[in-house]
């Protein structure tokens, strides 16, 4: 479910790259299990509603998606572009005037107005699934639609589909965000994420920007020589490689799209140690509210050749833990790990995994009750244009600074009651919404503080049960 401008722009990249990935793997054009995780196969020959075809040749692929935006520009552009046939007109919800960068407009006003419509469309997409395991929501936190209406949808999903996992990819605003009210929007959205999401993957534009620049530098410096694969999913976009523009959102959005592809790779493709989405939630969320996962993707620089010697492979693992590969401004190495997952794709075996875990473990701090807290997955199918890749997901206290800064920016506005009236005059909004939201964020930060306090303490093992002989 892509909500708002950011959500839909990322969504668009995601669907493009997903098609590309499956096209590279699926040579015979048969609609298989892997494809069915993201796409329906629709018979468009019959008039009226296309029937779903569950097997056989691919007829027409339709994305299992809902595109929501309170202004039309972005969605219209998608519908006129090369992906227009991938989306059903019944999967779209748009309006004209936008949310004015106001969470309350998105959440309360449009939420109320579009509730029935959203529920109905969600139900329809769910009905088309044999076995619905997970919803992905893609949105930004700083604006009005993605932030407000996006978290409204999150609430709806919990109400209507309580058994289905809710993974949220949230783009957090950077310090120099040009939306003045982004701290309000973000903190109000955070409360919803705290309470209704199973897993959140926070992303910061600054990090994406830095990564894109680094890749560009390496490409331009010629260090990679002739082995740079031009059609790798990291750098390509719908119309081939583009020169870096002032706001290279496509390249940045590609990174998020790749994150989602790698996250779901082991669920779609086979491997010697599968890792499904419900396993990610199970292993990485030790306490219900601590469900914020810092992600890193490697290699971004090594657009590599096929026979990479072991030395290069190990570099991929090292890079996953370096601060400049993280998708938020964070340094997991110098904070405390609650849990860590490594999802490897391509020609990597269990011994490579073990060797690198043994090697990197001593330099990482794990919480006392989870000293060997690693979750690993091996997927045989590498991403297009690479021979192997690694996605690292960390439940780590290094998210704390991001949240603390958010709280600070919020407080600077809130203390002066700046712009509050824009929110409070919306039906359903009260001052308590703000105080509850900041309280929720403070509590979360406090939980991370308490964990951090245990970091250097002596780990005293609790006494074991004694058996009477």
């Amino acid at each position: 479910v892509a909500v708002g401008q950011c959500g839909n722009q990322v969504g668009c990249r995601f669907w493009d790259l997903a098609l590309r990935e499956h096209a590279a793997v699926n040579k015979k054009g048969i609609y298989d299990e892997a494809l069915s995780s993201f796409f329906r196969n629709v018979d468009t020959r019959s008039s009226g509603n296309g029937r779903d075809i569950s097997k056989g040749k691919i007829c027409s692929l339709k994305a299992r998606a809902l595109l929501i935006d309170m202004e039309e520009g972005v969605v219209n552009e998608i519908l006129q572009g090369p992906l227009r046939d991938v989306f059903d007109s019944k999967q779209l919800i748009t309006d004209v005037s936008g949310s004015g960068n106001n969470w309350a407009v998105g959440h309360k006003l449009y939420g109320c107005q579009y509730r029935e419509n959203i529920v109905e469309k969600l139900r329809k997409t769910a009905e088309h699934c044999d076995c619905l395991q997970c919803f992905f929501i893609i949105h930004s936190m700083g604006g009005g639609t993605g932030s407000g209406l996006g978290t409204f949808v999150l609430n709806l999903l919990e109400d209507e589909f309580p058994e289905v996992y809710r993974f949220v990819t949230s783009v957090y605003p950077s310090g120099e965000d040009d939306v003045i009210t982004s701290p309000y929007n973000s903190v109000l959205a955070m409360k919803e994420l705290n309470e209704h999401a199973d897993c959140v993957l926070p992303i910061e534009n600054e990090s994406l920007f830095d990564i894109v620049n680094k890749i560009q530098q390496m490409v331009n410096s010629g260090k990679l020589g002739s082995i740079v694969k031009q059609n790798s999913l990291v750098t390509s976009s719908a119309s081939g490689t583009k020169a870096v523009q002032q706001k290279p959102f496509d390249a940045m959005n590609n990174i998020i799209a790749n994150l989602l592809l790698n996250l779901t790779s082991s669920a779609r493709f086979e491997g010697s140690l599968n890792m499904d989405l419900n396993e990610i939630s199970m292993n990485l969320v030790p306490f219900p509210r601590l469900h914020y996962l810092v992600s890193s993707l490697t290699p971004l620089y090594t657009l590599a050749d096929v026979n990479v010697p072991a030395r290069r492979l190990d570099q991929m693992f090292s890079d996953a833990f370096s601060r400049d590969h993280q998708l938020i401004q964070a340094d997991p190495k110098h904070s405390l790990y609650l849990a860590c997952a490594l999802l490897v794709r391509g020609n990597v075996q269990v011994s490579d995994l073990r060797r690198n875990i043994e090697r990197l473990k001593p330099s990482l701090n794990f919480v006392s009750w989870n000293q060997e807290g690693w979750k690993t997955g091996l997927c045989s199918v590498p991403p297009v244009g690479h021979s192997h890749s690694l996605l690292a997901l960390a439940n780590n206290t290094c998210v704390k600074p991001t949240f603390m800064e958010l709280k600070d920016r919020f407080m600077r506005l809130y203390k002066k009651k700046a712009h509050l009236h824009h929110y409070l005059h919306i039906d359903g909004m009260e001052q308590s919404c703000f105080s509850e939201a900041i309280s929720s964020l403070s509590d979360l930060i406090e939980e991370y503080n308490e964990l951090d306090a245990t970091k250097n303490g002596p780990g005293i093992d609790p006494t074991r049960l004694k058996i009477a002989m």
């Binding site: 299990e33 044999d130 076995c131 395991q133 493709f269 086979e270 010697s272 140690l273 599968n274 499904d276 419900n278 396993e279 939630s281 199970m282 292993n283 990485l284 969320v285 030790p286 306490f287 219900p288 072991a310 609650l338 849990a339 490594l342 075996q349 269990v350 011994s351 490579d352 995994l353 073990r354 875990i357 043994e358 473990k361 006392s368 009750w369 989870n370 000293q371 060997e372 807290g373 690693w374 979750k375 690993t376 091996l378 093992d461 609790p462 074991r464 049960l465 004694k466 058996i467 002989m469």
Partner: protein, 453 residues
Amino acid sequence: MSIVTVQLGQCGNQIGHEVFNAVCSDVLGKHGLCSKKEDESYQDACKERFFSEEKAGVPVARAVLIDMEPKVISKTLAVAARSGYWKYDDRSHFCQKQGSGNNWANGYSVHGPKHKDAIMNLVQKEAEKCDRLSGFVTIMSMAGGTGSGLGAFVTQCLRDAFPASFILNHIIWPYGTGEVIVQNYNSVLTLSHLYRSSDALLVHENDVVHKICAQLLNIKQISFRDVNQVIAHQLGSVFQPVYTAESALHYSRNPLGDLMETLVPHPEFKMLGLRNIPQMPENSLAYSTFSWPGLIKHLRQMLIANATMEEGIDWQVRPPCPGSSIPTRHSTSKPLHFNTSIANLVILRGKDMHSADIGSFQDPALYTSWLNPQDAFNLWKTPRAFNKYEKSAALVSNSQFLLKPLDKLVGKAWNMFASKAYIHQYTKYGIEEDNFLDSFTALEQVISSYATL
């Protein structure tokens, strides 16, 4: 008599597949090094045990494949059929779509009851294909959700539905670091439940097998396939046909019953470890010669020094002299800790095995005092060589082999439990803190029993 194998979860299915491969290639290979008559006897016994005949073509494995997601079973069925030497019964599998999420409670409390009928129907069908059913071997890992949780549930169902049959759980002990974060919880819950319904637990530790691949087989980039093939080889060395003391003229007909009788005299002691010698890269086999005295000497020292393979054995460890005190649990850090056994089974396969002298295994000093050493040790053998090894010896041991790993595992799980981490994921499906406490108590009891041997 036949064995029905129940393959559970990704691990169980991947290993089960390698086991049938190993058994099949052993039988079809021309490395029996024995008389034709002997070879034919062996083949017949093996076929009856593991395969049913199909009218046209290849033998069909006596197996039920179970998984809560479809990808592994699809691949397993396809690869087996492609081999051209054997296959699985196309209908003998059960899968779902969404997996168990590494959640024992999900496997045990949700998938178990929901799919009990469908699964037990398949097992019943396989059992009915057997003229005589020796029992069931389930293959599962402890770390995940399906093999562990659903495996524990299915084992209980097997016990209820087949009270007269033997049940052996073959269990994969996960790597100490990093497979699944909640692996210690899943393992504690699995072991405690299996202890109630199973006859014996035969354990393979991933860390140990990994070392064998690295140091003995010299494999550079070890894959799970390599690990699984070693496990399959070791299992084959136990379950391929043999002559026992009671069944000296024809291949023993009751492999599981015989195993239980020799190794599990007391229901408190069900943990079996497996050692195999020699293990070497295939291309070295042609250049190696083996002697029974050498193999037996090494195997015995592996037993008493608790060595996991034939390299790096501590030869300093000696059985205690009569009258001296046996080290207690708290001195497990002492390097000369001696591995006390309840019962041992040695299996010799290959040329001249009747000349092999196993007297050293009958030394009463190896065993705990409450069993007659005559009863504590058993020998099975066959002149038919196994899987290209001219001579090979296997040891299945009910001893303190698994005491330290079990103690460590329970310690780590308890440590995590004390902080209540991840508990909400289990209570969500009906496994409460009390259930955990029961499981911890049961395992502390097992640890204590083995420690005071």
